[in-house]
């Protein structure tokens, strides 16, 4: 066998690609679809009856509610903090205003 050149490898790869594309799936067994539907009905029933799924749903809903509440809290804190900051600035500026002379 002589040293294979890249062109030979391209040809070989092309041959393998043809083999791959020509592969045909064997027909699915008789009763295959019923087997799948049986498993799907079982999965549907277990997700309806599974307390774990209910707990999971509750956890997610509570997490969403907690996140919304936290966002609201942060928003209002920011808003009020801003106002307070404004008031504080105003008060300080009043303090720093030159006071009227006590002695004329």
């Amino acid at each position: 066998m002589s040293e294979r050149n890249p062109k030979d490898l391209d040809r070989l790869e092309q041959g393998l690609a043809n083999v791959h594309r020509d592969r045909e799936a064997p027909p699915l067994d008789a009763g295959w679809a019923q087997g799948v539907m049986r498993d799907i009905r079982r999965a549907a029933a277990s997700s309806r009856n599974d307390p774990g799924a209910w707990v999971e749903l509750c956890v997610w809903r509570s997490a969403a509610a907690a996140a919304a509440f936290a966002a609201l809290l942060a928003g209002s804190a920011f808003f009020y903090a801003g106002t307070d900051q404004g008031e504080l600035t105003a008060l300080l500026s009043e303090d720093l205003e030159p006071s009227p002379a006590l002695i004329e």
């Binding site: 066998m1 294979r4 490898l9 070989l12 041959g15 393998l16 690609a17 594309r21 679809a33």
Partner: protein, 195 residues
């Protein structure tokens, strides 16, 4: 005949039996994909798994993409998982024989299209393909099959596998290089046994 979106809506509202219609519509499509990637005696089992995964993930399906495309992605990922599992239980494919080496030689040197097609149709062709793929990692195996053997674009393969395009591009390059190195190593082994 109700369209896929309508059926999916009904399934999501608890009418599980409607899923049988999706099964009837797409079982051949899915089995064809699975049949290209897993051994023929495992096609039933993996195709079954694809539809169970599709049912459990149906809530995450968006009608922006055709249902067949979404299902194709699940099928490809199920095949990838199959090979990851199989790698742990490793069932080795036997080494190449003189017959296989001769086939490699003939197909590489085929001087006409007719001759080439004749070689591609031989039993050894399938065995050499199986041998080569079995020596690649599950990642390289899937990427090589999708990109180089089936001719999907990098973007399509990335969508099917749920990977980034950069990841697919890099792996596709490495997989092809690994495949070529396999054949070069096999050639050297053959030469050593001949001399």
């Amino acid at each position: 005949m109700p369209d896929d979106a309508h059926i999916i809506e009904r399934v999501l509202h608890g009418d599980v039996d409607c899923f049988a219609e999706l099964l009837a519509r797409y079982q051949t499509h899915v089995a064809r994909i699975v049949g290209r990637h897993v051994p023929s005696d495992r096609v039933n089992e993996v195709t079954h798994d694809v539809f169970v995964r599709a049912y459990t993930g149906l809530g995450g399906y968006s009608t922006d993409v055709p249902f067949a495309h979404w299902l194709s992605g699940i099928a490809v990922r199920a095949c990838y998982d199959f090979w990851r599992e199989a790698k742990r239980g490793a069932t080795p494919v036997s080494a190449l024989t003189e017959e296989h080496d001769a086939w490699i030689e003939r197909v590489s040197a085929a001087d006409s299209e007719a001759r080439f097609q004749e070689e591609v149709g031989r039993r050894e062709a399938k065995e050499v393909l199986e041998w080569a793929l079995s020596r690649l990692s599950p990642e390289h195996r899937l990427v090589l099959s999708l990109v180089h053997l089936e001719g999907h674009s990098v973007r399509e393969a990335a969508t099917l596998l749920g990977w980034s395009t950069v990841n697919v591009k890099v792996r596709a390059y490495r997989a092809r290089r690994a495949l070529r190195q396999l054949f070069l190593a096999e050639e050297r082994r053959h030469e050593r046994t001949e001399s």
